[in-house]
């Protein structure tokens, strides 16, 4: 029987003074994964955006649980989006969205 795909949700903090839209952000994440692990690696990551709050500069993404370290590495390697200097930090990782929001609650 096919195993159920386990997922992980990552809350990210975007360190950048200028405004960035969600499309640009997700493109940068995809590009970073592809640059480091190639298209084959990126296909295993199962990345998708769940939520983006431009005011708090918080992004929530979903990934396959086997690809968490790969995505974390790729996120750490992002230094620029377009011509804006950016640093992306992982705030929390969780198995459910509910638990993730509980973790990052101020």
């Amino acid at each position: 029987m096919l195993k159920r795909a386990k997922r992980r949700y990552l809350a990210l903090e975007i360190g950048c003074e200028e405004p960035i839209d969600s499309g640009e952000l997700m493109n940068a994440v995809w590009n970073a994964v592809m640059k480091l692990y190639g298209e084959y690696g990126a296909s295993q990551a199962g990345l998708s955006m769940i939520d983006y709050d431009p005011d708090k500069r918080r992004l929530v993404i979903r990934t396959a649980h086997t690809a968490v370290e790969m995505v974390r590495t790729a996120l750490a390697s992002i230094t620029r989006i377009g011509n804006k200097a950016v640093a992306i930090h992982v705030l929390a990782v969780s198995g459910t969205i509910k638990a993730l929001y509980k973790k990052i609650k101020p």
Partner: protein, 244 residues
């Protein structure tokens, strides 16, 4: 047990007090408890006190670090005699094989640095590792070049780092990972540095040790040596006075 993280290589522009403050605050926010800031050898003591105050406000522990770039082994020995007792961390950027060998066997050297851009000047081979394993020097890996390089240069750097970390593991030479950041945008959380170490197959535990256990051990050893109570390894002054 909870790990204590240290970044032994921050290079802010010391003339820009605001930038120093921003970087120290960012390090504190990223869960580091100790940072080493590179200062020039002739840096005034009053300025060091200023740095200490900045770190104290951010509840951070500060270590002073000097980066030596000698051209010959003799120059290295001269610099070590002059500066070892003034700084808590001594790093040597090895620009020739002779300097690399001398630095690896000298017990006054804490960190061995190699050029991230010139791959013919990375002298961390089997002989170097064997010398370092008998001394106290650790291999330092700065993450800044990994972040700023792209394409073939980054590929070549990753390949060198993979070979060097494998050699270091074989000879039991500790590895220290630092940010090498000159700007707060290039600073990363310790767990993120450990994740980047996946790229050169360092392994999760070894990578976390490289940002916590190994740098903290260097600091503990050096602070003990620099304390006025230290006499020799294992011997220290317990009490002074006429009745001793």
């Amino acid at each position: 047990m909870k790990r204590t993280y240290a970044d032994l290589h921050l290079c802010p522009d010391l003339a820009n007090g605001e930038q120093v403050l921003r970087m120290v605050n960012k390090a504190s926010k990223l869960e580091y408890r100790l940072v080493a800031i590179t200062v020039p050898p002739n840096f005034a003591e009053t300025n060091v006190k200023g740095l200490l105050n900045v770190c104290k406000e951010a509840k951070m522990d500060l270590a002073t670090r000097v980066d030596l770039k000698p051209r010959t082994p003799e120059e290295l020995l001269k610099a070590l005699r002059r500066f070892r007792r003034e700084f808590e961390i001594v790093a040597v950027t090895c620009e020739s094989k002779d300097v690399a060998r001398q630095a690896a066997k000298d017990r006054r050297v804490d960190l061995l640095d190699f050029s991230p851009f010139d791959f013919r000047r990375r002298f961390f081979d089997l002989a170097e590792a064997e010398l370092a394993s008998n001394g106290l020097a650790c291999l330092e890996i700065d993450m800044k070049p990994l972040l700023i390089l792209e394409g073939p240069s980054r590929i070549r750097l990753l390949s060198s780092l993979r070979r060097e970390t494998a050699i270091a593991r074989k000879f039991g030479v500790p590895v220290v990972m630092s940010s090498g950041a000159s700007d707060e945008r290039l600073m990363r959380k310790p767990q993120e540095l450990a994740a980047l170490a996946n790229l050169f197959d360092l392994g999760q535990k070894a990578a976390l040790d490289a940002v916590s256990g190994n740098p903290m051990l260097i600091m503990k050893r050096n602070r003990e040596k620099l304390s006025p109570r230290f006499v020799a390894p294992g011997i220290r002054v317990v009490r002074r006075g006429k009745d001793c």
